[in-house]
Structures are given as structure tokens and as C-alpha cells.
Subunit: 128 residues, 2 copies
């Protein structure tokens, strides 16, 4: 049995998991790798192979959604080949611009959106 | 120039970035790939090659820490070869157990801790 290479995946707590899956498919072209919908939603998604998870919030288990808390505590840094195109696609799907895609002083081309579930995405790529 | 393979990295907002870097080094053996400390802290860390970022919180820019909001909105799923050992190391470094490492009905061996900065980590691996 080969050793497990360490992996780190964010698990987004959302107020409406089923709607969030549809949003991430439309906004980022996410693929659904795994999903359970009995009781509450848990889903494993991937954006061009980059995996993340989401689940319905459950404050009684310390799983708060941004809508429930009034803000988010983790940003999602999404590195892609064409941040301008993916940013535009996310806005078209219903995300809101926090700041536009621009060349930043830290030598990334990057912009930031907040999605309808309150999660913040920084979409960009390093400048070379 | 080769195409950028999509990557997704969580960026943890924390109340004290410098202390958080030290904690993640002790708790998870994290390696510091990049760090700026002028003004506020921004750091790029890796756990066995699995990258994440952290930054000092700045509520005026929508970057809330779990301590500031009273909870966290994203869980960190950390997949490693020996979750029992890493869980114990995190506890020894100052994390608190939410639930212990056990074989779960969803066929992962997994446990959950909350770190001193309020971020929740689910540490485990798939059962085969």
C-alpha cells in the first residue's frame, strides 16, 4: 500500500449545499466527484483537478456558514491560467466583485469575488 | 510558458500571524515557503508539500478571524498517512480535541481539532 501523500482541502460550510453545488458548477466549472444528499448535503468537488468539499452548515457542530456568522474566516486562493475569464464567469453566475482582476504589487494578477454563500475567492496567477 | 494547472489553497485569517506560523510549524511540521512580516503578516506554508496561506485578519477588508467572528466558516481537511500521530502532535502543540481519531462510518479514519487561532482541522485518511 503506497504512502498517502499529504493533501489539504478546504471544506466550505454553506447554508444551502444543493444550491452551492449548482453555483460552483456554473461559476467555476466544478466537477462533482462525490455527493450525498440524504439528510444534509456533503459534496466533494474539483475545479480542473483542484479538490474542495462543501457541506450544509450545522452550528451545533461548530460548522458555521458565512451567512450565519456574518463573514468568512478563510479565503479561497484559486490559481488558474486565465483569471480574467474565470472571474468574469463567476460574476456572470452570480458572484459579486470585491475588487477587480488587476496586476498587483505582489506580482500576481488577481481579483476577488464573494459568492452567494458568503465565501471569498481570490482568483489569480503569478506574474512572470 | 506552460499552462498553469489549477490549484486551490485555503488562506487562513488569523488574529496573530507570527504566532500562528510558529504553531503550525510545531503542530503539523509545516514548512515556511514565503513570509512577509512588514506591516501585517502574510505567509505561505506547506505540510508535506500541501500548501496553504495565512494572513493577519483585517475586518475592514472582509478578512475575519475565527476569534473575531466567534467561529469558523471553512474546515481544513488534512489527509495524511498517519492521522493518529499528527493528531497527537497537534494536541501536544496546543490544539484542542473536538472529537478523537476513530474509524468513521463514512470509511475514513479521522479526528478533529480546533487550533489556538480558532481554525478547525479534520485529520484523517480514507480506509481501504
Amino acid at each position: 500500500m503506497p504512502a498517502q501523500r499529504p493533501a489539504l482541502m478546504p471544506l466550505l460550510n454553506v447554508h444551502d449545499g444543493a444550491a452551492a453545488v449548482e453555483f460552483y458548477k456554473a461559476a467555476f466549472g466544478a466537477e462533482v466527484l462525490f455527493m450525498i444528499t440524504e439528510g444534509s448535503v456533503v459534496a466533494n468537488l474539483a475545479i480542473g483537478g483542484a479538490e474542495f468539499w462543501l457541506a450544509d452548515d450545522s452550528p451545533q457542530h461548530h460548522n458555521f456558514s458565512p451567512q450565519g456568522l456574518g463573514g468568512s474566516t478563510v479565503r479561497l486562493v484559486l490559481v488558474v491560467d486565465d483569471p480574467d475569464a474565470l472571474f468574469a464567469r463567476a460574476i456572470a453566475a452570480g458572484a459579486q466583485q470585491v475588487w477587480p482582476v488587476e496586476d498587483q504589487h505582489y506580482r500576481w494578477r488577481m481579483g476577488r469575488v464573494v459568492d452567494p454563500f458568503g465565501h471569498h475567492w481570490e482568483i489569480g496567477k503569478p506574474l512572470r
